[in-house]
Symmetry: C3
Subunit: 216 residues, 3 copies
């Protein structure tokens, strides 16, 4: 019954979606890299500058998503393919959004020192986006025997599990050590937003896995 | 490939969806207007009365959504049209829900004075719902040259950007000025719920834009 | 126009989805029962043990959902049926997720005494999962005159309304009585997570109602 193959999803007339998906992924990678920088700086000026750059990436991502949606509406492809491309673009866009929201919270709350857990989280998030990029790059030549592709989404899952552990320890440390309740509120909120970010990247990984299972 | 036109979405047999969508939109407008009132009153009795009225609108909205869903299931229309009507009804219902949740938080937390940012947010939310109403009214005569329709969803986006700015300043002021951490928790929560409300109205605007791009 | 009948959704070739949905539901019932236990114990050791068991249920649920998704992709059934089975599995999985998240928060925050509202909430949640199970069991012999099926999803709605009331009173009591703001943050967070759990179970009830309206 299943007639979808990788040919039907990305070649020949649908091949135009791949460059757009790659562009969108690159925006996510950039945003995650800037987020990592943000937690390395403590000066207000620098932080504010980086947040603007992240916001600019988010706007760029929004525009690319809009183009993908428009192309999907104007291209005749099977509902299955449409659904997968749509789901992938959606999840990547959501990941960019939550990276931006994490950054804006840093700017809004202007906390004192960042707990080590936050810095560790942004490292994991950055690695996750690079794995997503590896997988998206692999979409153009997806094959059943594609161990590299599978490795990407497995690594994304492992990173998410690491992020969970870091987040949990971070929250426990915070409640044990932070005596200023206003500071506690700020840092808990930021940690939660970073945890959501790691989660969204994992959701992207799940979509990539679904595509692999269906087409490879 | 694209054969959908406005004729196929709202006439003749699908014309019944428009009155239902208008009814649902009117419920959202009413709820937003009541939310604005809520933040103007400080007496417990009055607040509680207004919250009951908002809850009643939410129940009404739920019922109308249910009817839309039922009609969609009983009417033969193309999956595309179904999807759009469904998405629009969904987003409006979600906006009503979050208006209700904002109101309930005021009632639950019973904060002291409202910061100016909250009042300003409810003004923007109310304006947003009126723009959505203008656009939904325009669905029955959608045309490519429809500058009025486009103006509505552009204005919705502008209002969302204003809401973002007001929210951000509100949060920063709160962390700077509110020394009572319990009061801080309450007001931060209420501001966040209002920000989500503005967001949902913007999501409705995005669906309206998608419909315009597809059918006009 | 509507040609779907219960026959088309669960027999003969689609009959394999029912055992999987039942398995997934059983996982949710187990997780909810453990959550109820969790709030009855106060010792760190015991709590930690129960949380591990809940996490194990969540992992099991994830695996079953994966199998449902895979079967759906490999089985030729109408898009309508696919959509409903998918929606039901999704909502049940989301309910399991949020039960797990509620449990993890107890472990992370390690609050002192639980307010009575939390214990009451877990009772309602447990009852709700049993009603869902009753309804899912009924899917194999769904008929228009099925008063028992309807009773399940009506009871789910009633339980959700009870949960709302308990949650609201719980939050109000918390803000009135809890003077330690860090403890307030913890307990408010846990209560909100429990409220989300009750909400998700109600979402499952809504999907069951939709299926009933469409097929019975």
């Amino acid at each position: 019954m299943k007639v979808n193959t990788i040919l039907s999803i990305f070649t020949p007339k649908d091949v135009k979606f791949l460059p757009l998906l790659k562009e969108l992924t690159e925006v996510m990678v950039q945003a995650a890299s800037l987020l990592h920088d943000l937690f390395a700086f403590t000066e207000k000026e620098q932080r504010s500058e980086i947040c603007k750059l992240i916001k600019a990436e988010e706007v760029k991502g929004d525009r690319i998503s809009g183009r993908i949606l428009k192309e999907l509406n104007n291209t005749f492809i099977t509902p299955f393919d449409r659904e997968d491309i749509n789901a992938l673009a959606d999840k990547i866009e959501e990941a960019i959004d939550v990276i931006n929201r994490s950054a804006q919270k840093v700017l809004l709350y202007f906390p004192g020192d960042f707990p080590p857990a936050t810095v560790r989280m942004t490292e994991i998030i950055q690695k996750g986006t690079l794995e997503v990029q590896g997988a998206v790059d692999g979409l153009s030549h997806l094959q059943k025997s594609d161990a590299a592709f599978r490795k990407h989404y497995k690594e994304i899952k492992t990173l998410e599990e690491n992020a969970d552990g870091v987040y949990e320890k971070g929250i426990m440390d915070l409640f044990r050590e932070e005596k200023d309740s206003v500071e506690l509120i700020k840092l808990k909120d930021i940690l939660q937003e970073l945890e959501k970010t790691a989660n969204k990247i994992n959701s992207t990984g799940k979509v990539l896995k679904t595509i692999f299972v269906k087409y490879a």
